[in-house]
Amino acid sequence: MVAKVYKRSAVRIAVLLFAGVLVCILATTATSQDAGAVKKVLVLYWDTKDFSGNISFDQGFQAGLNAEPNSRWELFSEYLDSTRFPGEHQAGLLHDYLREKYSGQKIDVVIATPDPALDFLIRNRKDLFTDCPIVFVAVRRPSIEVLRAGAGLTGIIRANTHRKTIDLALKLHPDTRELFVISGTPELDKRFETLSREELAGYEKRIRITYLTDLPLPELLNRVRQLPQGSLILYVWQRFALKSEKSLQTTQVLEKIRQNTSVPIYGMGSRNIGYGLVGGYVQDSERNGLEAAEIVRKILNGKRAQDIPVDSAASVPMFDWRELKRFGISEASLPSGSVVRFKEFTFWEQYKWRIVGVTTLLLLQTSFIVILLVERRRRRLAKDALDQLNAELETRIEARTAALNAKSRELETFAYSVAHDLKAPLRGIDGYSRLLFDECSGSLDDEGRSFLQTIQASTDEMNQLIDNLLAYSRLERRELKTDRIELTPMVRALVEEKKREGADQEVDFVVDVNGATVVADSSGLAQSLRNYLDNAIKFTRKVSTPRIEVGSKENARSCLLWVRDNGIGFDMKYHDRIFDIFQRLNVAEDYPGTGIGLAIVRKAMERMGGRAWAESEPGQGATFYLEIPK
C-alpha cells in the first residue's frame, strides 16, 4: 500500500513537472508571439468623422505608424461628437458604449485629440481603458498628478498661437486700429473668448478689441458687414447647433463671414485655411498626427508613457494665396517658412521648367539657325568677293592679253614693214650695181669689177636674210590651216624641188616614208621639211658622197619624220641652241646662212602642237626630227 501511495505521488509529480515544462514552453511561445502580435491603437476624436481636422490628423497618424518597418497594428477610431450630442448624459452613454464595445479587446494605446476627448478619458479612466497608456494632442497641459496616474499619459501640447497670429496680422496690416474676435460654441460657454482674452491681454493698448462671441448668425453677419476700415477679424471658432436647420460647421460659418465682410480674417486653425482666412500661425493636424504616431511607436516598442516628456507642437505660418492676393500682400513680406496654400500657379510657375527647356531649345535652335545663316552669308560674301576677284582678274587678263596681242601685232607689222622697206633700197643697190657692171664695166679695172661683185653678193645675202625674216614673221601671223596630208608625195615633191635647185651638187637622196597620213598645217610642214632639206644639203656640201635620208615612223599618238645626213654634224651641247633664231655654229664663209631656217621649223611645229629637235655627233652626220601629233 505504501509503495502504491508512493508510486501514485511520483506519477503526480511527474505529471506536474510535465505540466510545468509545458506551461513554460507555451509561455515562451506566447511571449515570442506577443512581440510580433498585432498592436491595437484607438484614437478618440472630439468631433465627427467628417471633420476636416480629424481627417488630416488620421492621415498624418497612419503615415507615422507606417514609418516603422514591419509594424503590425490595428487602428480603431471613435468620435466624442459632443457638439451634436452634448451633456453629461450623452457622455455617460458613450462611456458605457465604449466599455462594452472594447471589453473583449486589449487596446495597447489610446490617443485623445483634442482637449474634450482627453478630458473624457481622464474622467473615465477608472473603468475605461484603465491599463492603457494615453497619448494626447491638446491645448491644455494636464497636471503632474494626472500625467503620472495609471498606465501613464503623455502627448503634445498645441500651444495657442493667438499672439503670434495677431502680431503677424498687424505686421501685414500696419494701419489696423480695431480687432474683432469671433468665437462661439453651441454650449454658449464663452470658453474660446476666455482663452482669447487671456492670450490677447496687453493688446488693448495698441488696438481696440471687440469680442463677437455667441452671436446668432444673422446678427454676426450683420456686424461683420459693417466693420469700419482698419479692422481685422480674428476667427477663433464658431459653430451653431440650430434646431430649425442643419447645424453649421465652423468652416461654413467662416465662409459666410468671408462673404459678408471686406476686412481680412486671420485665425489659428489649419482646417480653416481655404475657407476665408488670410492666414495665421496654425497647428497643422496632419503634422500633429505624425508627431502623435511617433510617441505611440515608442510606447508600442516598450517605452513607458511616463518616461516620454510632453512636447509642444510646432506652429506654422500658413496662408491662403487667394486671400493674400485679395489684400495685396506679397509673398515676400511673409515670415520665413510660411506655407502658402491654394496657390494658383501662374503659367510661368506651373510650366517653368518646360518653358525654360523649350525656350532654351528654341534659343539653341535659333542660335544654330542664326549661325548657319551668318555662315551662309559669309560664304556667299566670300563667294561674291571671289567671283568679283575672278571677274576682275578675267578682265585684267583680257586687257593684258589684248594689250599683248596689240603689241605683238604691232611688232609683226613692224618686222614686216621693215623687211619690205629694206627690200626697196636693196633693189636699188642691186639694180644700179648691175647697170653699172653692164654699161660701165669697160671703164672699171678688175678691182672695181670685184667690188661690184661683192656688192651684188652682199645684196643676195641681204635679200635672203630679209626673205627668211619675212617667212618667220609671216609664220606667226598666218592663220593655221590644218589639212589631211599624205606624207610620201609631199616629201617626194620637196626632194625633187631640192634636186632641181642643187642640180650641180651630187646628193644621194633616199626617201623611205611609209605612206603615213597626218593632219597638219601643210604650209608649215612643207616649210619645215624644206628647211631641214636645205640644212642637210648645206652641211653635206663638203662631204665626198653626200647622202640624205628622209624617213618616218608612226605610233598611236604621233608621226615622226626625220631628215638624216652624213654631213659635218654638231656637238650635242648645242642641240637646242641651233633652233634659236640667228644662232649659227659655223662661220658664214664656210656655211652661209641666215640663222633663221631652224627657228622657222621649230616655230611652225610648235604652232601645230608638234616638236622639232636634232641629234648628232661632230663628223658623224645629224638627224633632224619632226614630231606631228595625231
Binding site: K423, R427, G428, D430, G431, Y432, S433
Partner: protein, 145 residues
C-alpha cells in the same frame, strides 16, 4: 575691150611712188626693147586723175603696173575704183609690189587684178619680169590691129 582702138602704140601706166623704182622699171623695159611709152602716176590720187584724161580722149593704157603701197590713196583702193569704173574696168592691171602677203594677194585678186607679181630684188630677175609682162600683156594679149 571696147575702149581699145587701133592706132599709135598705147602707153603703159606705172603707178609707183619711188623714183628709183620708176627709173629701174623704165630701164628694165628699155633693156627689153619695149616700145610702149611709160606714163607714171606717183601716188593713188595721180593714178585716179588719169580717169579724167582718158575721159577727155587720151589713149587708154595697154596695162597698168600698180604698186600697192602708195601715199594718200593706196593701190588696192585705186584697183577697186578702177575695176568698178563702167568704162575703165577692162584695162588689165598687173599688181607689181614687194608684198608677199597672202592677204594682199587674195584681196588684189578679189578686186579683179589680172596678175600679181612680186618685185624681185635682183635686177636680172626684174628684167625677166619685164620681158614676161611685155610678152604677155603688150604682145600676146593685144587684140589684132
Amino acid at each position: 575691150m571696147s575702149q581699145t582702138q587701133p592706132g599709135p602704140i598705147r602707153p603703159i601706166l606705172l603707178v609707183e611712188d619711188r623714183a628709183m623704182d620708176v627709173d629701174l622699171t623704165k630701164r628694165a623695159f628699155a633693156k627689153r626693147k619695149l616700145l610702149n611709152p611709160i606714163e607714171v602716176a606717183r601716188d593713188g590720187e595721180e593714178a585716179l586723175a588719169f580717169f579724167d584724161r582718158w575721159e577727155a580722149g587720151e589713149p587708154l593704157p595697154i596695162c597698168i603696173l600698180l604698186d600697192l603701197r602708195l601715199p594718200r590713196i593706196n593701190g588696192l583702193e585705186v584697183l577697186r575704183r578702177l575695176k568698178n569704173h563702167p568704162k575703165f574696168s577692162t584695162i588689165p592691171v598687173i599688181v607689181l609690189t614687194t608684198s608677199t602677203e597672202d592677204r594682199d594677194i587674195e584681196e588684189a585678186y578679189k578686186l579683179g587684178c589680172n596678175s600679181y607679181i612680186v618685185k624681185p630684188v635682183e635686177f636680172d630677175k626684174f628684167l625677166e619680169v619685164a620681158s614676161k609682162i611685155e610678152l604677155y600683156w603688150c604682145a600676146l594679149n593685144l587684140p589684132s590691129r
